[in-house]
Symmetry: C2
Subunit: 376 residues, 2 copies
């Protein structure tokens, strides 16, 4: 029995767009949300696409995400804006904020827009790419529920705090999108499902000691009992723990601090989300000829790909290359959705009164029913 179903991009889009409209979002809003989610699946970042639907569903049900939130610009200059999100959907706030940053950067050369009281906004890179598609350098950051344990601590204080940056280049844009923790929570969940011990240097137990027990670490994170994931650079200063912790702070400055929003250690407490984002757009043309600059970057990226490989390696990647290939492959050959995720999508259909067979096909129902009789 296959443990995934292959869907075309169009079919997933049809399902998702109608689902978010059923939740009460407008057609235009649903289109934006769905584009963020499906771009993630198309890039091969399954953790942030269809697999996250259930989290948005729960967020809306619990009232963490307010469908009719009206974002407000509470501070603005020609190079900046601060948006009060009023607990709106993260993707809509992110999209709006980056659009403002792009418009301002086209006028002034560069702009930073921050957002407070938002929710999970999907992949950080989506918004960086929005600017990149307009010929600009784009940056996007978000704080999140505390999960990073700072160097020498035993309590998670910062979020996974991803930093994304994209810049136009040929034949692939430079596109870097990564958490400032050594790995994301999703990785721990995979090890937990497979019942595999965690590699050394990823996570800490409730006393702040290295742990290979994924289940225990995840339980402690949820229960806020101490421990969590270590910064990029690991547990000790010898491997650069303080540097990943520093990049986590970098993210915090451009999200919660410059929006006067909740810092990661105060988000997701007492029925309140409070996630904060930051968006930067920079026009390369304020440094000279934008075409020359793009070519200069393209040359460096090509030299990196063509550099001598380590013994046993046949390829050096530049950031963004893998996503381009994943995108092309999935647009052509469809997107494999894990059967557990399909089951969640079927549940969502039932919850929203949508015809699961119409949207997801007969196999979806058959497989998820077969799955429940085995797995329950």
């Amino acid at each position: 029995m296959s443990n995934s179903i292959n869907y075309s991009y169009e079919q997933l889009k049809h399902f998702c767009t109608d689902a978010f409209m059923k939740f009460g979002f407008s057609r235009e809003e649903s289109d934006i949300i769905v584009d963020v989610l499906l771009t993630s699946d198309l890039y091969g970042i399954e953790s942030h696409g269809m697999q996250r639907l259930v989290r948005y569903h729960k967020g809306i049900e619990k009232g963490l995400i307010k469908i009719d939130a009206k974002p407000e610009i509470v501070f603005e200059t020609p190079v900046s804006a601060v948006i009060e999100g009023h607990d709106g959907m993260g993707q809509l706030l992110g999209h709006k904020a980056m659009k403002i940053a792009i418009e301002k950067a086209k006028q002034t050369g560069m702009a930073i827009v921050t957002v407070r009281n938002s929710n999970h906004y999907g992949i950080a890179g989506y918004y960086a790419k929005m600017a990149c598609k307009e010929g600009l350098i784009g940056m996007s950051m978000t704080n999140s529920e505390a999960i990073m344990v700072p160097t020498f601590a035993r309590k998670a204080m910062l979020g996974s705090n991803p930093i994304a940056i994209a810049m136009p280049a040929e034949p692939y844009d430079f596109f870097f999108d990564a958490s400032t923790t050594v790995v994301t929570r999703g990785k721990l969940e995979i090890y937990n499902k497979l019942n595999k011990p965690l590699p050394e240097g990823w996570a800490l137990d409730s006393k702040g000691k290295g742990s290979s027990d994924a289940s225990d670490v995840l339980k402690n994170i949820v229960g806020k009992a101490g421990g969590g994931i270590v910064p990029l650079g690991g547990e000790t200063e010898q491997t650069g723990s303080h540097k990943g912790y520093g990049y986590g702070m970098f993210c915090e400055i451009f999200t919660s601090i410059l929006s006067m929003g909740l810092t990661s250690n105060h988000t997701h407490i007492g029925g309140k989300g409070g996630t904060c984002h930051g968006f930067i757009a920079i026009n390369p043309a304020v440094f000279g000829n934008a075409d020359d600059i793009r070519e200069h970057l393209s040359t460096l990226l090509r030299e990196l790909r063509e550099a001598p490989k380590a013994e046993g390696q046949d390829r050096i990647y530049t950031h963004g290359e893998k996503e381009v290939f994943a995108y092309e492959d999935r647009m052509k050959n469809g997107i494999d959705i894990n059967i557990n995720t399909v089951a969640e999508m079927v549940d969502l259909c039932n919850y929203l009164g949508m015809d699961a067979i119409h949207y997801l096909g007969e196999d979806a129902l058959k497989l998820t029913l077969a799955r429940s009789s085995y797995d329950m």
Copy 2:
């Protein structure tokens, strides 16, 4: 026999200022250069202070550093500038560029200034702190001779590419300054001097395989024979190697790419330096009340310091705290200079026709003479 001599800040300043004036810099220029170098020693970053004098001496002798270079602004907008450094002294170009960024940011809210064809500029953090002292967020980056081996490569392609950021806070500014490699070359040199094997996950041999042989790695770096230091995050994607490599690229974009200067892999080849820098200044006041924002950051930093400690740890540091204590201690108790460095300073006196006993004391001569009879 002591292996260091303690000097007061004033005495080192007197020696250094006169030395750079002997090289041909003006009084004002010498003051800037010396302030960058001594700030490094005061912060406890010995690798970038007096210990680097010999490198600047060699750079000037070889003609890599041109004392009479006249920097030129080749492109400018209200939020940006690009400076052609004409192979000038890095500290002077860095200081000039950050001053321009600060002035522009005070007018417009934020600014980025890039510099090409410069030289080693000391600690990146110095320039970030310049903006911070003016109430702004400061960032400073520099590329350098290629030393970072990208993930899956066996040749160094990027520099140590430090990124520094400083932002006003009480009682200590946030101040993060770190290479995007797991460690700097200086660390390898220390292990080599001590004849100690390198920790796993720091360096690669000429084939791109992990190496613990500091001497071999350093020899290969100098000879451009392959290998080098791995990115922050280590050698494999499992520990986040691609993330450190991504931050290395981040630095490259804001230095060489946006200045149309030499990328790290093309600097320091054929008698040409070509180092590039990038400076960012952002006025927090374009996001609301600057005092409120400073207090918001100060609160997060305090919460981090007060967070529960890992078992066996009694302190969590926030970035910039160690430098504050080192600065206060060294201003009060003087700066210990390693005897090998003192010997280089004595040599410099002789080279420049300065009276070593007058500037560095009788002990300097005695100890360095004693040292040479033992160490030669």
